[in-house]
Amino acid sequence: MTDDLERLYKSTYTAVVRFLYRKVWDADRAEDLAQEVFIRAMSHQPEKPRAWVFAVAANLARDEARAAVRRKKHLMLLTNDPLPMSTPERTADEAVEYDERKALVNEALATLSERDREVLLLWDAGLSYPEIAEQTGLAVGAIGTTLARARKRLLDAYDGMDHDRRRAAAHS
């Protein structure tokens, strides 16, 4: 079981971080939460560890979102000079471009329904249709329909926002 978990950790850690990052939009927090997920997996020794890991990750991300609202006020005190723990090395232009794209994707994802977003992010993290179905409670046959809808809506939302942004930039 321990070997299974170790294999799962090595093969899935990055996907879990990526999945969490889409929800918390903070690389450090995503890493912290991912480690917390695997520490818990060691205690629980789940029967289906892969699905379990993503289910717990989703729950942690949900708790994180609730906590973020509560601590907003607190963080005001700490925005003075936070430590950049693992800020990627980018040039200024790249950083601006990246931030804009990230914000657009974030906004576009926010336009999806929670179920569509969850299915899309689980697919992006590498889960199979049966695994996504197990986690979301949908029928396996409904995953393709949900994914088709989610992909289309995300692209429509992203393209619309990107168009607006470019038009605003051209006018300014």
Partner: protein, 342 residues
Amino acid sequence: MTGWITIDGAPRHIPEDELHAYLDQALSRSQCVEIECHLAECRQCRHLRDDVAAVRDRITALLADTAPRRVTPIPSYERIVAKHQARRRALIGRVRRVGLIAAGLVGAVGLGWWMQGGGPAGSAAPATVAVAEPSAETVGRTLVAAGPVALVADDSTGSVVVDNSSAVEPTGDRIPLVREEARTLRTAPIRPQAATPVVQVSAVVPDEESVGFEGLWQSVDWQQARAETGGNMPRISGLPILDIQLQQIGGEERPIVVVVQQHPSGRLIRTVEGPIERVEQLLERYAARTPGQVRASTPALTPPDYVSSGAGTPRRLRILSVIANFPADSLNAMARAIDVRE
């Protein structure tokens, strides 16, 4: 399952969601064969397949493009195991402490009952009660004994012995209750000798700044500190570490950590890392004790704790601050250079 080839004999095209599933390799082999046969003959469905593939590829690229770029290596599995074990050890220690406190309380209640005549007649022999392993909770309390007592505090073992051998002799069946002024054991820093000193320093190290760190602190060696903090050890790389002090918080939270390092000028630099409320309290106390002498850097966020509870896993924010007799800009620069993770 698919059923899109014919309905009542009329040809029908492949539904879009099935093309998504097909491209996601989520269909059975027979379904794939069925789709591929239809695609070979149907230009319209081939166009739709290309469109779906383009959407799918764009989504993949869009999400991948905004994925976090990894600049630190994936933490080793051994590190996760070490964190898990540290958490288990902390849990076991907590259970043990609670058990000892409960046993001590039961013993004290039993002794009081026995001293007031609850025990067998004439069996009021002098008794000694040892309360083992004082914790921050027990050390700071007032002990009131039913009779004259001698309090012996033994720092080396951390035990407190209540000796009533000089109690008033019993007259009759009932032992007279003699009230004496309550005695208080004050909380004081206990610093047992670390098993292996982190760095041997021959020079005399001024330690006047430590007056702000009240409470029960424990000096530990590097290995123990790593185990207790799950590997999150704040320190300024390149400077020798003189001491590492921990103050346990309880629960699943990591302890408050103070890493004492020495600047080449001889001045001490203390890096404090812990839960936001505790560190803020500590900084306030510290500033009040050493006005104008020693400064602290702007607090910065460090990896938080996630504490299990019935309602989920609340996130407990942690911060760090560097305290030393340096200008504020230098302290902030030091804080930025601190490496918390291994």
